[in-house]
């Protein structure tokens, strides 16, 4: 599974340009899914399971897209100005390398600041692709790039850009592989454009019209020096989301997840996130409303070019989700 993770995180797929990730996912699951389709927003939707009496139509969503940048201007000397796609912060840009969809690579640096204590604004940053003039520059306005950083295997801990949310994409792929049978009608949605506002999941959920839904996504962890105050830590199991800024998870879904984890003796944590949002919000508000929740992978340094997860949490997330889908669901 580590090799799958590596291939996924090293693929370039900023929001709106998920096709390389989509192709990779499709190849991985095409022999294990009953049906695969791509909708108007580019979501890859795979169905699995043999609905039995008492089985439910369940939608799972893990987003394929990652944060990135988009070129806005190439100046006379060949420097590329850019703006963000999703929640990129200027302080993680300086010195970063980026890779455009075309394969062109470059580095980000910035204008001279009045003081070293200051942080660049995006208007003060630029990408240097080694060009000497506008004519010489292989990048044009509207070209999209993602951060460029190789996968790092530290044993239990794995580091990469785009762990958010390829790690969950890997989890869903692994679930598809391991889920031998399900009494439920399960739709695995590999969604697009989550980082710019849950756009893919919104329309995918409308199309799937699920009875229960949950997202699989990363969440913050509270276990770094002088970091945020949060109960989740790396290595203590996948997190069952209770709330984030955009969602109050349906308590029935939370009970279902916790109950299943306890029955199966799978370690888990409770996630109370004071920020963020996931595809679960989009699912919850679809049509007449859908009971929704989220299984989260605790992750350090989210939206930096080096995001860290614990591989044991990943494996336990797969176990938990397989267990959730293997039995008829009775939300109460």
């Amino acid at each position: 599974m580590k090799s799958l993770i590596q291939r996924l995180v090293e693929t370039t797929g900023p929001s709106g340009y998920e096709n390389q990730v989509r192709d990779l996912v499709r190849k991985e699951i095409e022999n294990d899914a009953a049906e695969i389709r791509v909708d108007a927003m580019g979501n890859l939707i795979a169905r699995k399971g043999s609905p039995q009496p008492g089985g439910r139509r369940i939608m799972l969503s893990a987003h394929m897209d990652e944060i990135g940048i988009i070129a806005t201007h190439v100046d006379a000397n060949g420097f590329v100005r850019f703006t963000t796609v999703g929640g990129v912060r200027p302080n993680t840009c300086l010195g970063s390398r980026v890779r455009f969809l075309s394969g062109v690579q470059g580095l980000i640096n910035g204008e001279k600041l009045d003081s070293n204590d200051k942080v660049h604004s995006f208007e003060q940053l630029f990408i240097d692709v080694g060009a000497a003039s506008r004519a010489d520059c292989p990048v044009k306005i509207g070209d999209v790039a993602a951060f460029d950083r190789p996968f790092l295997d530290l044993g239990n801990r794995l580091v990469a850009k785009a762990m958010d949310d390829r790690i969950s994409v890997a989890v869903l792929i692994e679930v598809i592989h391991q889920l031998k049978s399900s009494p439920n009608d399960v739709y695995f949605v590999f969604s697009t454009q989550e980082e710019v506002g849950l756009r893919g999941a919104t329309t995918a959920a409308y199309g799937v019209d699920p009875e229960i839904g949950f997202a699989v996504d990363v969440t913050l962890s509270g276990d770094t020096p002088k970091g945020i105050k949060m109960e989740t830590s790396l290595g203590k199991g996948p997190a069952v989301k209770v709330r984030d800024s955009s969602l109050l998870a349906d308590p029935r879904v939370v009970r279902w997840m916790i109950g299943t984890a306890e029955e199966e003796h799978i370690p888990y944590q409770i996630e109370i996130l004071e920020a963020g949002g996931t595809d679960a919000r989009a699912i919850q508000l679809t049509r007449m409303g859908v009971p929704s929740g989220c299984v989260s992978i605790p992750t350090r340094y989210i939206h930096s070019p080096s995001e860290m997860v614990d591989f044991r949490d990943v494996e336990n997330a797969v176990r938990l989700i397989v267990a959730l889908l293997s039995k008829p669901v009775n939300l109460e």
Binding site: M41, T83, I141, T203
Partner: protein, 362 residues
Amino acid sequence: MSPQDRTPLAESLVGDAQIRLLERLSNAAAVSGDEGEVRRIVLEEIRPLADEIRVDSLGNILAAHHAGRENAPRVMLAAHMDEIGFMIVGDDEDGLYRFDAVGGIDPRILPGKAVLVGESRIPGVIGARPIHMTTTEERRKTIPLDSLRIDLGPGGEGKAKPGDRAVFATTFQRLGSSVFGKALDNRLGVATVIELLRHAPANIELLAAFTVQEEIGARGARVAAYALHPDAAIAVDSTPAYDLPTWDQTENALYNTHLGAGPAIYIADGGTLADSRWVNHLIAAAGERGIPYQIRQPGRGGTDASAIQRQREGVPVISVSVPGRYAHTPGGIARIEDWQNTIALLSAGLEALPAGLFQPAA
């Protein structure tokens, strides 16, 4: 194709009649939520052009021009009718009224402007303290909107009431190769979609939506797209051209678009990542017909496309805008040539639309 070869195509699309229509549209008042005046002009214009017309409960006009064949793709063209403006919120007596902004208005542009209030277009002014009474320190501060009043004159007591809308009292005019007027954002788009209905191609089911309340969150387009349920959509709007000199004469890297460089094709804005099939198709169509175009600088802002894209199971969308300077101020400026080329580009793009371009991948 040489530039000389291109001009006739575009010029045939915008003549005096089109400019006159734009003039009527620009001078009409249609603050978000009160679009009746523009709606009536549009209805009058499109009645002979569309096969079906209805007005929905929010005030959107939904019109269809049927395709000349079966199973043609259903393409929605959306142009918002509404404009930024004001609403009277309080009566201070003596013909003075408190007001608030509807849509994004920079309070720095308000003092010293003439406005028209209510359906009967009562003239009023937004004054400012005489410079003689101000201090240097005071002049460095923006006059907050809540200290400004709309003044109808001392006899204006009772002539307006809370809830009345007001717009800048700007009269449309031609300035050389440009047009000047209020609300060119988005009367240019409205006029463009009217022209596209006039020249509707037979290969598509053209669904024209003249939408309401774009300026306060693309609310009209949302329900319009749900109702029309299109296979694909284009938001036709006007986008800012910030192609002005910078204060220190350095290269302007934040121009958004340039006047005179052709229609602006969107790749990304604050609300939408354009469907790349649309982007590639329109660029190819422009190339084939020799129509100039520009890529709008990716960045913030948004159009009806964001709301349309998210309806039902999702709609492949793009925005194409006529570049215009000084949107959301008393008067904007746009080049007639850019408008012509916008109509030409959309027309060419729709005519050449492959039937299966947006069919979902299996």
